[in-house]
């Protein structure tokens, strides 16, 4: 599974942020994962258990927020939630729609423990 590759990049980014902010350690990592991102949150959490070892994020909690697909119809401009394998417009039935949410794979927030002043 490619979730471990994604996690390695995640750890690289988190380590860079921790360095920038002179953090002692990372407390929490918040991700936003669209259901059309091709990444499974539960597998990502398993991979994170491995990827975080020996890093500043070793004791961090990983939280994933799921983002469901949402479409905008290019014909009738209707916006609606959609299922992952049915992105048709529920108003006019058309297949000419744009995906406006649901393929995010985003590092949204990191909570850092910094040394006391």
């Amino acid at each position: 599974m490619h979730e471990l590759s994604v996690c390695m990049e995640l750890i690289d980014q988190v380590e860079a942020i921790a360095r920038t902010h002179n953090a002692e350690r990372v407390e929490t990592i918040v991700l936003q994962i669209g259901s059309l991102a091709g990444v499974e949150p539960s597998l990502l959490e398993n991979a994170f258990e491995i990827a975080r070892l020996g890093t500043v994020a070793e004791h961090a909690e990983l939280r994933t927020e799921r983002v469901e697909p949402r479409i905008r119809c290019q014909v009738c401009s209707h916006e609606a939630d959609a299922g992952p394998s049915d992105l048709r417009c529920p108003a006019c039935g058309g297949t000419d729609t744009a995906l406006i949410a649901g393929e995010e794979m985003i590092l949204a927030r990191v909570e850092l423990l910094q040394p006391a002043d």
Binding site: M1, H2, S5, V6, E9, L10, D12, Q13, I17, T20, H21, A23, E27, T28, V30, L31, Q32, G34, L36, A37, G38, V39, E65, V67, I71, P84, S85, D86, L87, R88, T95, D96, T97, A98, L99, I100, A101, E103, E104, M105, I106, L107, A108, R109, V110, E111, L112, L113, Q114, A116, D117
Partner: protein, 283 residues
């Protein structure tokens, strides 16, 4: 989604950017960065290198055993003397596929990924310097046979070609929407077997693809009998011509699904990365 213009900030996450002004020990940093940024940066560098030589690069994806290498063999034979082709092969193990391509007199590089289920931009970047790009028209990258992972990694290619063989279920596009949504063209392969596989309906396969809001053409091919090869090669020539027109204006091509994301989110410069805020709850 992009991480450059602030489009990642939605009603759902806007609260993360608000600071409460206290001096808690724990600091929350709002990032809104793409998780695969590192891969995507390398992919962009790969694309720039390929563009500097005008090499149209096509990423082939499908399940294992759906006929990617056979399609490439038939394509190479049909285009001999007309287009200059090279192939990058991705597999977990063995050089078998590269050997099949080399037997036809075409340069082929095998990437063995070990246990990794997909190619990524860094693996491709290691191979590109070994190719004589200045002598190529088209580069095919045969990805690891897998309908899940390869779709998430930009390699720096220009087009995605997804194969669905008629020995599989015709509802595969509904079952693997991430992969099939990424296709610039869907090839139904092994169509010579349709006569004995009545349960596979090409119409149903296409309907499943259209439900993903895809406009990609569906082309029926048999590498064995040559059925549909003219249509597939016609599409290839048409895309090559389009790519060359883009290059004349110093532009490039991206797979349709990536361009859609960029169009939606614009290309503004980042303002909000690493904006520090204090944690809302006390620790």
């Amino acid at each position: 989604m992009c991480d450059t213009c602030g489009c990642n900030i939605t009603e759902g996450n806007r609260h993360l950017l608000r600071a409460d002004g206290s001096h808690a020990k724990v600091t929350a940093v709002s990032v809104l960065n793409k998780l695969l940024q590192h891969n995507d940066d390398q992919a962009q560098a790969n694309r720039a290198l390929l563009d500097s030589h005008g090499v149209l690069t096509i990423n082939l994806m499908s399940s294992p055993g759906s006929g990617k290498t056979s399609l490439l063999e038939a394509t190479i034979k049909a285009l001999k003397g007309a287009l200059r082709i090279a192939v990058i092969e991705g597999d977990l193990e063995t050089e078998n596929d590269a050997a099949r391509i080399r037997a036809l007199g075409v340069e082929a590089h095998q990437i063995t990924t070990g246990t990794a289920c997909h190619l990524d931009a860094h693996l491709v970047a290691k191979v590109l310097p070994q190719l004589e790009l200045e002598h190529l028209d088209v580069l095919f990258i045969e990805n690891v046979g897998n309908l899940v992972c390869p779709a998430s990694f930009d390699l720096g290619h220009h087009l995605n070609l997804t194969l669905l063989s008629v020995t599989e279920g015709d509802d595969k596009p509904a079952k693997y929407p991430v992969m099939f949504r990424a296709a610039d063209a869907m090839l139904l392969s092994k169509t010579d077997l349709l006569t004995v596989l009545e349960e596979f309906s090409p119409e149903r396969a296409e309907a499943c693809l259209r439900n993903l809001a895809s406009k990609a053409p569906v082309i029926r091919v048999s590498a064995k009998t040559g059925e549909g090869m003219q249509e597939w090669l016609g599409w290839l020539y048409q895309r090559l011509e389009h790519y060359r027109e883009m290059r004349r204006e110093n532009l490039s091509l991206r797979p349709a699904v990536q361009s859609e994301g960029r169009k939606l989110h614009g290309l503004a410069q980042p303002e909000l990365r690493f904006k520090p805020v204090s944690k809302l709850e006390t620790v």
